[in-house]
């Protein structure tokens, strides 16, 4: 384990770990995503073929996972900004983290059907 990778534990450290892991994940997705979008310059068929994989059940579930990662990174990123710029931010960092988790749970529940509707329809009929 490289020096300085484990800090004091609890909410502060684990939210930082999750922020870092989600950030790296989104970056790798974006790299692949720009490559697949570039296929619109090759041919409509090439693009549609690759987009078809986005519609398979397994990848569709991964898209839900991507939404989970981005929603956490976005909400927690706003919390980090509040900790840095709002004078009372550091004092309320823990409460803000649980607010982030709460909003995240609500949004993930709301996104469940819309994001997975393609899979739900093809697997269980409309």
């Amino acid at each position: 384990m490289p020096a300085g990778t484990l800090y004091r534990g609890r909410e502060g450290m684990w939210s930082w770990v999750a922020h870092r892991v989600t950030g790296v994940l989104i970056f790798f997705f974006l790299f692949v995503h720009v490559l697949d979008t570039a296929l619109v310059r090759v041919s409509p068929e090439a693009y549609d073929d690759v987009v078809a994989t986005y519609k398979t059940p397994i990848v569709n579930v991964m898209e839900y996972g991507l939404v989970a990662a981005i929603l956490f990174h976005a909400l927690n990123g706003l919390r980090v900004i509040a900790v840095d710029f709002w004078s009372k931010g550091p004092r309320y960092q823990k409460q803000m983290l649980w607010t982030v988790v709460g909003v995240w749970v609500v949004l993930m529940a709301g996104a469940f059907y819309p994001v997975l509707q393609h899979t739900l329809r093809t697997l269980f009929g409309s």
Binding site: P2, A3, G4, T5, R20, G23, V24, I26, F27, L30, F31, V34, L35, T37, A38, V40, R41, S43, P44, Y47, D48, V51, Y54, K55, N60, E63, V67, I70, L71, A74, G77, L78, V80, I81, D84, F85, A111, P114, V115, L116, Q117, H118, R121
Partner: protein
């Protein structure tokens, strides 16, 4: 336990080991500028990087969450996506500008974030150097390719 055994024990008791004639040792502040600090690194690059992460983050909340809403939630979710759908969207300069700004901000934000991660974990100088070269190459390539695709998109390619 007597105050003489450890300094830590002395600190918690009310008898201090130190006084005017015998002052406590001075602990140097972390990252203090010393004579050994190289002149060449004295720019505000890290400060601007830090600020950029926060400003771009705020813009990306709107850009990326809006993008996901359009691509994955509205209008049948992922089912509708295809060449024709992209052609319809990039017929509008508004969505072209949206995607262009999102491309640049997300790539620079993500690349700067990854630079921090590499600096944190790659301890050998050469490993760190080459990982960052790989990162910068991939970033420049992706940003240029994405920009080119938006500007040269042709709905009548076939």
């Amino acid at each position: 336990m007597s105050a003489e055994t450890t300094p830590a024990a002395a600190a918690v008791s009310d008898v201090s080991l130190y006084d005017v004639d015998n002052p406590a040792p001075l602990i140097e502040a972390p990252r203090k500028r010393t004579k050994k600090t190289p002149k060449a690194t004295r720019t505000n690059f890290e400060l601007y990087g830090w600020l950029f992460m926060r400003l771009s983050g705020i813009l990306l909340v709107v850009l990326v969450l809006g993008h996901l809403l359009i691509q994955l939630v509205l209008d049948g979710g992922v089912s509708k996506i295809g060449f024709a759908f992209v052609a319809g969207r990039w017929a509008s300069p508004f969505w072209q500008a949206w995607d262009l700004l999102m491309l640049w901000l997300a790539m620079l934000h993500g690349a700067n974030g990854l630079r921090t991660v590499i600096n944190d974990y790659a301890e050998r100088d050469t490993t760190r150097f080459w990982l960052k070269m790989l990162l910068y190459t991939a970033t420049v390539f992706t940003v240029l390719l994405g920009t080119l695709v938006i500007f040269t998109f042709d709905p009548n390619i076939r």
